[in-house]
């Protein structure tokens, strides 16, 4: 624990009067065990009452106080400041992938709206009057235990690299929420959910960078949940979408040649009979050819393709 003076550099912005965000410095004498929220309150209550940020429970369950510290999203109330000081400085900014309302407060409407797209409520098999609880095994409960710990703080949403380039991506929070129902033994809508979530903007748009899981302050760990959905979707035959075709194409070319066939894969992903789809990727292909970056037209093989296939075979055995 490092005591002593720490400089907080906080990104301030009031869209109603400022043209751009600007940094403001505050000095705080750090006491042992202080959380980021303690320090912010200290600043607001003794130095600058105009600083705006959200907070409520102060005990890491309500999810109000997500913000970026030194560029990474955290929950302010459960973050020990002494763990984050670099050369006596702490930098604070609002969470990413959102519009700033004021200082560290951001507009969360798109965040809540994304949830709608996964129908975030139980769709039970039957509508029987609840005269008793439905049975669920401890093992079945354990499957939804991690995803039900989500507190909707938005730390993962903030640092999601896909959302940064595509705001139509469902994002880690909505996908984790979807997981909670897809894996709930009491939900009857699993098949439909998997079909929908396999489409564009769903599970297959995730690039596995893992930022969501690294930032997650709970046991939700969205990337692991997304992976679980993918495995289930493939296992249950949801192959009629670009993401699944990409996976299958990958497996096929590596199995055939021991190497990726980069000419085959995009065609397989889009679908060989999907004329509009094929036309849509044609300009990219032509540009690559023009620049001499297209993969060799005659695909290569590794020397011992059989051994690659042995790996696949052993994996299949392992999975069984």
């Amino acid at each position: 624990m490092s005591n002593g003076e720490v400089t907080f550099i906080i990104e301030r912005f009031d869209p109603e009067k400022d043209t751009a965000p600007y940094p403001q410095e505050y000095k705080v004498i750090l006491e042992p065990g202080q959380t980021l929220l303690n320090c912010l309150n200290n600043i607001k209550w003794t130095q600058d009452q105009t600083l705006a940020y959200r907070y409520s429970c102060g005990s890491a369950i309500c999810g109000s106080c997500a913000m970026r510290i030194n560029g990474k999203a955290v929950l302010a109330c459960k973050t020990q400041v002494s763990d984050c000081v670099k050369d006596g400085v702490i930098r604070l900014a609002p969470i990413g992938n959102t519009k700033v309302v004021r200082d560290l407060v951001v507009d969360l409407e798109p965040f809540w709206n994304a949830l709608k797209r996964v129908r975030p409520y139980l769709t039970p098999d039957s509508q029987d009057a609840p005269e008793k609880e439905r049975e669920q095994t401890a093992e079945e409960f354990s499957k939804i235990d991690p995803s039900t710990t989500c507190i909707m703080c938005g730390a993962c949403y903030s640092d999601c690299n896909v959302l940064e380039v595509d705001n139509q991506f469902l994002g880690p929070v909505a996908l984790a929420k979807a997981h909670r129902f897809i894996f709930d033994s009491r939900d009857g809508g699993g098949h439909q959910r998997l079909t929908e979530i396999s489409e564009t903007n769903g599970i297959w748009d995730c690039t596995h960078c893992g930022e969501c899981t690294t930032r997650c302050p709970t046991e939700t760990k969205p990337l692991s949940r997304i992976e679980e959905i993918k495995v289930k979707a493939m296992a249950e035959g949801h192959h009629g979408n670009a993401g699944a075709r990409h996976v299958l194409g990958f497996r096929e070319t590596v199995g055939r040649r021991g190497l990726l066939d980069e000419n085959y894969l995009p065609l397989r992903t889009v679908g060989f009979f999907n004329i509009p789809g094929l036309l849509s990727i044609m300009p990219v292909g032509l540009r690559m050819m023009w620049r001499g970056k297209n993969p060799p037209m005659i695909p290569h093989y590794v020397d011992k393709v059989g051994e690659v296939n042995n790996i696949f075979a052993r994996f299949e055995e392992f999975r069984k």
């Binding site: 209550w45 705006a52 409520s56 890491a60 409520y121």
Partner: protein, 601 residues
């Protein structure tokens, strides 16, 4: 399924574009009009909304977003005599609750709650609440303080979170049938001649103030535990609903009864669930002794919270506390083993680790009593309709449910796990009764300009002045005096001291300074408004406690150490007088089956 997100107005989300009813424009500006306006989005408010959405035009006003309501912070469980583990009965649940309340709970209301408990749990299970399970695949139940059977249904140690998110999920299912005004702050309740007409609320994002007219208003706005230094309550729990009610000329009941939870994380006050003791955790003093055998040999650590908190405080006061300042006791989970701690008490494990750096698997966790639950609040009948005076007359079109209300099922001391139950049971009852009430009620006219001017005047007084008093020291001094002079133990002289201090702080508050002059997301101004609430209800806590010359449940007077049923088997009612002062009156407790007897554990 809609793949394109449709956003409503900022700060409110309309869940489906086909919805109607919201925001009818009047000549003077936006006058919001709904059949029912619910203030608060915790379990009680959301459960009531579920009963009403689709039948009436219903809106929720909440100062946070629904999933951030403080119901979500409840950890250990929700009570119901399901008898999944043992031979529990509804009868036993009723008796335990009456005894736990130190006979101040209204027994007819307690019967309603306990009778409806199993149905409530099954209903939440069917809505998708994830409950921890037994080996027979039923809902698992654990021990809890003051309950004589394994009665607490739970989802690890995140039960409130699981229930809250289940109901939050249902708001998405309701689609356009429910409008939620998130981050809107209710600032005024409009009641004229015993008839409730609506509320005034402010859009926090813009500072815009609007009148919401409604046939029925339901307050489900939570408790008032924030005025204590050591508290498990959220920063949001500033008694806004209670004070709006009080300022509208209606009484508040039993405000002196504030529950102190025995295991608040040392210095932070953060809740460490009673489930820790329900699963077998011990309490140790500085000498390493399980001191509860002196105070409640029959129940040990699972005596009701008032008794355990007092026992801890006695150990600390008599010099047997732990730590360098001997000012805490220890919660020892080590003998439970790592696997059980991580499976059943993961949140507690992480809280101790993240906030104190203590690993509960290898070390005992420093804890102290923490202000936790408000037994007092807005008095209602058993259908949640708010009571106008000590005769029991009712306010037309005004209801309250959950922690902000005082039915009273908790009396002088709430049993753990009964609060989530109360919020669900009475939230639903309120919804059902409101459905009835709203069908006959008419919308009444509101002098919109006058109502908004009244709120504006109050705000201008604190924002547009050159006043000098700083906000934070006033709040800090208030919290300090409430914890140390009106806390676990109280005495006439300490309470008098606290009273004097609170009045002095109220005076200083008149000259409080708000630096932030902006309209948008001005949390400085909100804090000032909230502090005004805290100062006003804190006086009622202290005044009720000064007057009540006995010890009952959570109210423990060192100068009157015994319960006095002859004089004090009644509910306190505090009325606001025209000059801003208060007046205390009393009304009888409802006793149906259990005559008061000595409360021993």
């Amino acid at each position: 399924m809609k793949w394109t997100a449709q956003s409503g107005e900022r700060g409110s989300y309309i869940l489906d574009l086909e919805c109607g009813g919201a925001g009818q424009y009047s000549e003077r500006g936006v006058m919001y009009s709904h059949d029912v306006v619910i203030v608060g989005s915790g379990l009680a408010g959301l459960r009531a909304a579920q009963e009403l959405a689709g039948n009436l035009d219903v809106a929720i006003i909440t100062k946070v977003y629904p999933s951030r309501s403080h119901s979500g912070a409840a950890q250990g469980g929700v009570a119901a005599a399901l008898a999944n583990m043992d031979g529990d009965s509804i009868e036993a649940h009723i008796y335990d609750t009456v005894k736990g309340s130190d006979f101040l709970g209204d027994q007819d209301a307690i019967e309603i709650m306990c009778n409806d408990a199993p149905r409530t749990i099954y209903e939440m299970e069917h809505l998708g609440c994830p409950f921890s399970r037994t080996d027979e695949n039923k809902i698992a139940q654990r021990a809890f303080g003051g309950h004589s059977f394994l009665r607490a249904c739970f989802s690890a140690d995140r039960t409130g979170h699981a229930l809250l998110h289940t109901l939050f999920e249902q708001t998405y299912k309701m689609g356009g049938k429910l409008q939620v005004y998130s981050e809107w702050y209710m600032t005024r309740l409009i009641v004229e001649d015993g008839v409730c007409k609506g509320v005034v609320a402010m859009d926090i994002a813009t500072g815009r103030m609007e009148v919401f007219s409604a046939k029925v208003v339901l307050f489900a706005s939570g408790g008032y535990g924030r005025s204590f230094e050591i508290t498990s309550n959220a920063y949001a729990n500033t008694g806004d609903g209670a004070i709006a009610t009080y300022r509208a000329g209606l009484p508040l009941q039993d405000m002196e009864f504030v529950q102190f939870h025995p295991t608040g994380l040392y210095q932070h006050g953060i809740l460490l669930s009673e489930a820790a003791r329900g699963e077998g955790g011990y309490l140790l003093n500085g000498n390493g002794e399980r001191f509860m055998d002196k105070y409640a040999p029959g129940k040990m650590e699972l005596a009701p919270r008032d008794i355990v908190s007092r026992s801890e405080q006695t150990e600390i006061n008599e010099g047997r506390g732990a730590g360098p300042d001997k000012d805490y006791v220890l919660l020892d989970l080590r003998h439970l083993g790592e696997a059980k701690i991580l499976e059943r008490l993961p949140q507690i494990y992480h809280l101790a680790k993240d906030f104190l750096g203590v690993d509960a698997v290898t070390d005992p966790v420093p804890t102290q009593p923490t202000a936790h639950y408000s037994m007092g609040g807005i008095p209602t009948d058993n259908d949640c309709q708010v009571i106008l005076d000590e005769t029991g007359a009712k306010v037309e079109g005004f209801f309250a449910a959950g922690e902000c209300s005082c039915v009273s099922v908790h009396g002088a001391n709430r049993l753990g796990t009964n609060s989530l139950l109360e919020a669900l049971v009475f939230g639903r009852r309120a919804g059902k009764k409101i459905l009835e009430a709203a069908s006959t009620a008419k919308s009444s006219s509101i002098d919109e300009k006058r109502e908004i001017a009244a709120v504006r005047a109050g705000i201008d007084k604190i924002v547009n002045t050159s006043a000098k008093e700083e906000l934070h020291p006033i709040r800090k001094e208030l919290k300090n005096v409430m914890t140390y002079k009106a806390g676990v133990y109280r005495s006439g002289s300490e309470l008098a001291e606290a009273h004097k201090k609170v009045t002095e702080l109220q005076e200083r508050f008149k000259h409080v300074r708000v630096d932030d002059k902006r309209e948008n997301f001005n949390t400085n101004m909100l804090e000032a408004i909230e502090l005004g609430h805290m100062l006003e209800y804190s006086e009622l806590i202290v005044a009720g406690a000064e007057a009540r010359e006995e010890s009952r449940g959570a109210h423990a007077r060192t100068d009157f150490p015994t319960r006095d049923d002859e004089k004090w088997l009644n509910h306190t009612m505090a009325f606001r007088k025209g000059d801003g002062g208060y007046e205390l009156k009393y009304r009888p407790v409802v006793i149906t089956r259990f005559e008061p007897e000595e409360r021993k554990y």
